[in-house]
């Protein structure tokens, strides 16, 4: 018996280690960019005022704790570790609660379900870490409640813990209420029936609370939020009960939230109905493990959004100016939407490879070049990068600002604030730049950058000599017009007129014409290459030139006023040979010429 119990205990250790290692591995290697994404759309300030501002709302402590931990997502492995540890904490505390109800260790896998549920919802960027910290706080205080053996003490503890949990953790106080009421019911059914063995560690309760006392708990739970709403904080009714820290879209309560809150009580109920005898039930254990694995597999399949993860990866790499890594990633996993494609195109431009490689990837019109403004926070945030690198500082500023204004949880973004500090610095609006830098100086990971940047305020010479900001000033548009992303053609032409050395704008202008198959304007822009110091014509340009020449001369291989490589000439000959002589040339040409401009021109 003792040997069996030891085996069971070791099984629990192994499964615990495997489970949380699995969580860590998932978030570290398969879902890391979601965590980076979460980190950049919050602004966590290390000030007393910020703490007080959070504590002034129900759930604020859970929110503050979550924000504090989320800032560490800045470091790639810190986020997965934090998540694994929090979920481990949830599992362990819940395990302790379940042990009070049923000492049989065979059913320990059920204690993993709340953690698994939390891990799954964290896959959706609209659920922040504060949902997890809220659950942890509620479970901790539930366990505290359960630790009181005498019912009188428990009753008074409950009267304190319900409002306390509401204020500290927000909506998960509903979880606490459900746990403690169910606990009382279970305790009531069991107390007086059991014979207590001398040498067991069984907790001895002196019975359950009376019905009216439990009714008081429900009353307190129902009324406290209404009182807060009436006298302290006006907010919509749903938010009053839930708090703003569980789901970012404040006007909806998704099904996952009631499931999150009710799951522990449901498991407690199931646990209470399982055999109490301390004898290992291995078949039950195996079934639970299989079910846990199945729940994990299907749950993550449902919740994890790997398409979004790819977009976030592109965004993360661009934000950190890892242009070559973007291209490498695209070669492994081609962009499947305009957001990723726009980031790839930016990376190609920044590495001066746009003219060579852009048609190696599936293009999607100009929406894959410039992200049109959408009234949400992702496209403007990513679009701001493109505009910034083009030298459209005002437009980049607008996109960044508007992006921040559309963050679902209505909070500020450290990424936007940083970009706004830069754009205002470049524009010479030093007081505004200084204001944003003051905020960043109150953060953990951005304060050094902010302090270093502060030295540039009011120092025209330093800014002009800065490798990025100085260059942006040189590239800036000199003429005023009303900017619309739909009018990018004229904007790019203006950028080139203002600064013929703006290679990024040149590449985008050429890309614009090529994508739109506007070869006349493309050809007209070729002379712009000279002041840019191009030693060699990029491959796509060669292909377009050869095509145009082919339309206008009888001997395109000879009558070329441009220096076209022999390789491109040979390829054109081969392409033309198939295209002009073969029916259904598309399928034949796809394998060899899919990455050429000719193929794009004819078939896309």
């Amino acid at each position: 018996m003792m040997r069996e119990n030891k085996l069971l205990k070791y099984s629990e250790y192994i499964i615990t280690i495997l489970f949380f290692t699995g969580i860590f591995i998932f978030f570290a290697f398969f879902y890391n960019n979601h965590l980076h994404f979460e980190e950049q759309i919050q602004l966590f300030l290390l000030t007393g005022e910020y703490f007080i501002s959070k504590m002034a709302f129900p759930g604020g402590f859970a929110g503050y704790l979550s924000g504090f931990l989320t800032q560490f997502y800045y470091l790639s492995f810190a986020g997965p570790l934090i998540i694994a540890l929090l979920l481990f904490g949830i599992q362990q505390i819940f395990r302790l609660i379940l042990k009070v109800i049923n000492q049989n260790n065979s059913f320990f896998p059920l204690s993993f379900l709340p953690s698994l549920n939390c891990a799954m919802i964290l896959c959706d960027e609209f659920y922040s870490l504060s949902a997890v910290t809220g659950v942890l706080i509620a479970l901790l205080l539930s366990w505290l409640y359960i630790s009181f053996k005498r019912k009188t003490k428990r009753f008074y503890a409950g009267l304190v813990l319900i409002p306390l949990t509401y204020w500290l953790a927000g909506g998960s106080f509903l979880m606490l209420v459900s746990i403690i009421i169910l606990f009382e019911i279970i305790t009531g059914i069991r107390s007086g029936r059991k014979k207590v063995k001398k040498d067991t560690k069984e907790t001895i309760y002196d019975g359950r609370l009376k019905i009216w006392q439990m009714a008081v708990y429900i009353f307190v739970g129902a009324v406290i939020p209404l009182l807060v709403r009436r006298f302290l904080i006006m907010q919509p009714l749903g938010l009053t009960y839930l708090s703003e820290f569980y789901y970012d879209l404040r006007t909806t309560v998704p099904v996952a939230i009631p499931v999150l809150f009710s799951l522990p009580a449901i498991i407690m109920l199931i646990y209470s109905l399982l055999p109490l005898k301390e004898k290992p039930y291995y078949p039950a254990l195996y079934i639970q493990i299989i079910l846990l694995m199945a729940a994990g597999y299907f749950g993550f399949r449902q919740w994890a959004n790997f398409s979004a993860e790819d977009i976030m990866k592109y965004d993360y790499l661009v934000r950190n100016e890892r242009w070559d890594d973007v291209i490498k990633f695209a070669e492994k996993k081609a962009p499947r939407n305009n957001l990723s494609l726009a980031m790839l195109n930016l990376s190609l431009a920044k590495t001066e490879k746009m003219g060579d490689l852009m048609f190696h990837f599936e293009q999607n019109g100009t929406a894959g070049l410039f992200l049109p403004f959408e009234r949400e926070y992702v496209a403007p945030m990513m679009g701001s990068e493109i505009l910034f690198h083009l030298g459209l500082i005002n437009a980049s500023q607008e996109y960044s600002f508007e992006s921040m204004e559309t963050i679902p949880d209505l909070n500020k973004s450290v990424r936007s604030i940083k970009r706004l500090a830069e754009t205002n610095l470049i524009n010479g609006h030093y007081k505004v730049a200084g204001k944003y830098l003051r905020f960043l100086k109150k953060t953990l990971f951005y304060r050094k950058w902010a302090s270093d940047t502060e030295q540039y305020l009011y120092n025209e010479e330093m800014i002009n000599n800065h490798p990025v900001w100085g260059k942006k000033r040189e590239m800036m548009i000199k003429e005023d017009f009303f900017f619309k992303v739909e009018n990018m053609e004229s904007t790019l032409n203006m950028l080139m007129r203002g600064n013929p050395a703006n290679n990024i704008a040149f590449q985008y202008l050429m890309a614009f014409y090529l994508i739109n198959k506007d070869l006349r304007n493309f050809m007209n822009c070729l002379p712009m290459m000279e002041p840019l110091g191009y030693k060699k014509i990029p491959v796509s340009y060669e292909e377009a030139i050869m095509y145009v020449i082919g339309l206008t001369t009888t001997n395109p291989m000879e009558d070329i006023p441009f220096k076209i490589s022999e390789e491109t000439k040979a390829r054109m000959k081969a392409y033309a040979g198939v295209y002009t002589t073969t029916r259904n040339a598309e399928t034949i040409l796809r394998d060899r010429f899919n990455g050429t401009y000719w193929y794009y021109l004819h078939f896309k």
């Binding site: 000030t47 006007t251 437009a395 600002f401 508007e402 559309t406 524009n427 204001k435 005023d480």
Partner: protein, 416 residues
């Protein structure tokens, strides 16, 4: 009085009140000394004068990010000017994220006010003694719902502009946003008969009319008017003049001619937001290079028109190098409050200016906060300041209830 602090000085409010009471109609000399690196440094002393004329005790304003087109958290708050207490009176969080703007009292009376709630279930929310009506001011014969509005002193009429407003974004660094009308008229809403009137002289096809405001005696309507032109092509040449037309509230009729009080042809500037003083002696307005949206025009300044001799004071002591725009008067006509971006050119704050019996304006001072660092770490702009002689008789919960339960009452268009 001596007040100490480690990194900042916060003067206890009771001490502050006592000091101001004692120094009424006199001045206070302020000396600031700082202990730094073991040495004391004395800053140059400065003085301020304590006026004996009381200001209205409440101020409402909108808190909004200085953004472009998009907003998230919008609130209209009221501040007790005799303390630091600020309460939210309308919160867009409570009305499904709708846009809330133009919160206007009738003659600083908090028991009569309106604001617009832009939402498919919204409307113009008119409040009297805490009871709301939701009005749909859109008609087939008017351009849009009411926009910029002003109460008639009898509280029966509200004059609104109706406009098609277009925002555009500048490309160059010293300009941010341009907002212009492509078409605009002035209408009058009759709250007794639930009717909308569009007087012909206030809705000419060859003019843009906007910013209507009644005179304190209710017998004149002031408004801004510009020659109609093709927009946006000519956006930088549109200049509004300050005009007036007679109004007879008993007969509900308008005069037969429009007077130009300040011509943009003469001044070379455009005019927005005219606000007559309660004593009828002045009209305070915003003047800038072109257009009708001064908040993003750095050159926007306040000007004071003296109605006794039609002279214009450009208020050099009041204005700054950044936009000084939306303003409102106190009941006694001896104070006005205005929104200014003088601090950093972007985040608007509220400033108070005293105006003497002779019409001399003093140096503006900032709406004080309990924490001297407050504005450094605040990311909202203050705008549409309106003074009031008391707190509003409703709460955000009442607004929410009205929003959710009331159906917008249509108003009938009456040709006049």
């Amino acid at each position: 009085m001596t007040v100490n602090g480690k990194k900042k000085i916060s003067i206890p409010i009771q001490k502050c009140r006592r000091l101001l009471e004692e120094q009424k109609n006199d001045s206070v000399l302020v000396k600031v000394s700082v202990l730094k690196g073991g040495n004391w440094y004395n800053y140059r002393p400065f003085a301020f004068y304590v006026s004996g004329e009381k200001i209205d005790p409440y101020l409402s304003y909108r808190l909004i990010e200085p953004g472009y087109e998009v907003w998230n958290k919008l609130q209209i708050a009221q501040r007790n000017l005799e303390s630091f207490k600020e309460t939210v009176i309308i919160d867009n969080n409570m009305v499904d994220g709708g846009c809330i703007n133009c919160h206007i009292y009738s003659g600083r009376d908090p028991s009569v006010s309106f604001f617009h709630l832009r939402h498919r279930e919204g409307g113009t929310m008119v409040q009297k003694n805490g009871v709301f009506r939701k009005l749909n001011t859109v008609t087939d014969s008017t351009i849009s719902a009411g926009v910029y509005g002003s109460w008639h002193p009898g509280n029966r009429f509200i004059a609104f502009s109706t406009n098609v407003i277009i925002p555009e974004f500048h490309s160059i660094n010293n300009l941010r946003l341009e907002v212009y009308d492509t078409i605009s008229d002035v209408i009058i809403a009759d709250l007794e008969k639930d009717e909308i009137m569009k007087p012909s002289l206030l809705s000419r096809k060859d003019c843009f009319e906007t910013f209507p405001v009644f005179s304190p005696d209710g017998r004149k309507l002031y408004f801004c008017s510009a020659k109609e032109t093709k927009m946006p092509a000519n956006f930088s040449s549109v200049k509004y003049s300050l005009c007036s037309i007679d109004f007879n509230p008993d007969e509900i009729s308008f005069g037969t001619s429009v007077d130009t009080l300040v011509s943009s042809n003469i001044t070379g500037k455009t005019i927005s937001h005219p606000k007559p003083s309660p004593n009828g002696r002045y009209i305070l307005y915003t003047s800038f290079d072109y257009g009708n949206f001064p908040v993003w025009h750095r050159e926007a300044d306040l000007s004071l028109l003296r109605l006794s001799d039609m002279s214009i004071d450009t208020l050099p002591a009041v204005n700054s190098a950044h936009a000084d725009s939306y303003h409102s008067w106190s009941s006694c006509s001896r104070w006005f409050v205005f929104a200014s971006k003088r601090d950093n050119g972007m985040y608007g704050k509220l400033y108070f200016t005293h105006i003497s019996e002779e019409g001399i304006c003093g140096k503006p001072f900032l709406l004080p906060q309990k924490d001297p660092d407050f504005y450094d770490f605040y990311l909202k702009s203050y705008n549409i300041p309106e003074m009031a002689d008391g707190p509003v008789p409703y709460s955000p919960a009442v607004v929410e209830k009205a929003f959710r339960q009331l159906v917008a009452e249509p108003m009938k268009f009456i040709p006049r």
